[in-house]
């Protein structure tokens, strides 16, 4: 196949998305955007799983990424509840102002 995509490009895309997720996690100050960066990182890892699963012709990678999705759903539910509680008590979403455990 002359126009087929090599598998490594999928892995490179996954690495780029993961790196952008890390950058957003570090750079952004809004707690909701930080949370979305974590979701982006989980998605990038899922792409790696699916790509390796294709290469090995095994379905196990799909099962793994399915479990990652389930854990992400649980994490989103609990994390957003925590964000709601923090906002109720602090009236802010900026992670710089939520620092009472720091001092």
């Amino acid at each position: 196949m002359h126009n087929a995509v090599p598998l490594s490009w999928y892995l490179i895309l996954s690495a780029i998305l993961f790196g952008l997720g890390v950058a957003g996690f570090i750079y952004r100050r809004n707690i909701i955007t930080v949370f979305m960066s974590i979701e982006l990182m989980l998605n990038a890892v899922n792409l790696s799983f699916i790509a390796f699963s294709y290469q090995l012709k095994q379905v196990d990678g799909h099962i793994f990424s399915f479990f990652v999705m389930v854990v992400a759903a649980a994490e989103a539910a609990v994390g957003l509840a925590i964000i709601l509680t923090v906002f109720k008590n602090r009236e802010t979403l900026m992670i710089d102002e939520i620092n009472s455990m720091k001092y």
């Binding site: 196949m1 126009n3 087929a4 995509v5 090599p6 598998l7 490594s8 490179i12 895309l13 690495a15 780029i16 998305l17 790196g19 952008l20 950058a23 957003g24 750079y27 952004r28 100050r29 809004n30 909701i32 955007t33 979305m36 960066s37 979701e39 982006l40 998605n43 899922n46 792409l47 699916i50 790509a51 699963s53 294709y54 012709k57 095994q58 379905v59 196990d60 799909h62 099962i63 990424s65 399915f66 479990f67 999705m69 389930v70 854990v71 992400a72 759903a73 649980a74 994490e75 989103a76 539910a77 609990v78 957003l80 509840a81 709601l84 509680t85 109720k88 979403l93 900026m94 710089d96």
Partner: protein, 166 residues
């Protein structure tokens, strides 16, 4: 054709991911994340993951992002203030270093991986609901059951955290 679809949706995913990091308003970031998830679903389809592509759209782009948008609107979250004090020099240096880092990672992946045949659509047929279900309910039955307990704990935790008294 495979390469064309890959480039279109990979480019769209990277663009949306950059937009996610660059936007200051959470709603714009959420929309970008939906774009990333949708294009990743297309790429999963290309790699033979039919079930995972459907689950990606339904669970991630549907359920989780609705939860995010719901919380953003509930908290009336506006644009981010300029609380992060960085100079322009540091910002551009950071962007340059991030690009250099990502390029280096890409180069290492490209040179470390053995040469493989290209990805052909339809070469892997195991990712259907049948194939996933067979594996999930035989070999991975225990993790699947543990997952249900995890979901129950998450529901209880979310309800407890969202009560009025805390």
């Amino acid at each position: 054709m495979t390469a064309l679809i890959f480039f279109i949706f990979a480019g769209f995913a990277v663009f949306c991911a950059i937009n996610l990091v660059a936007q200051t308003h959470p709603i714009a970031s959420a929309l970008s994340l939906i774009g990333v998830m949708g294009s990743l679903a297309i790429l999963y389809l290309q790699l033979g993951g039919e079930f995972i592509a459907a689950a990606q759209v339904i669970v991630y782009a549907g359920a989780i992002m609705v939860l995010f948008v719901f919380v953003i609107m509930l908290l009336n979250a506006g644009a981010e203030g300029t609380s992060l004090q960085v100079s322009n020099f540091a910002k551009y240096l950071g962007i340059f270093l991030l690009a250099a880092f990502l390029g280096l990672i890409s180069f290492i992946i490209q040179s470390m991986l053995p040469k493989t045949e290209g990805v052909v659509f339809g070469a892997f047929q195991g990712g259907t609901a049948l194939g996933i279900g067979r594996k999930l309910f035989t070999q991975y039955l225990l993790p699947f059951e543990v997952t249900s307990v995890l979901i129950l704990i998450a529901i209880v935790g979310a309800i407890v955290l969202a009560r009025k008294e805390i």
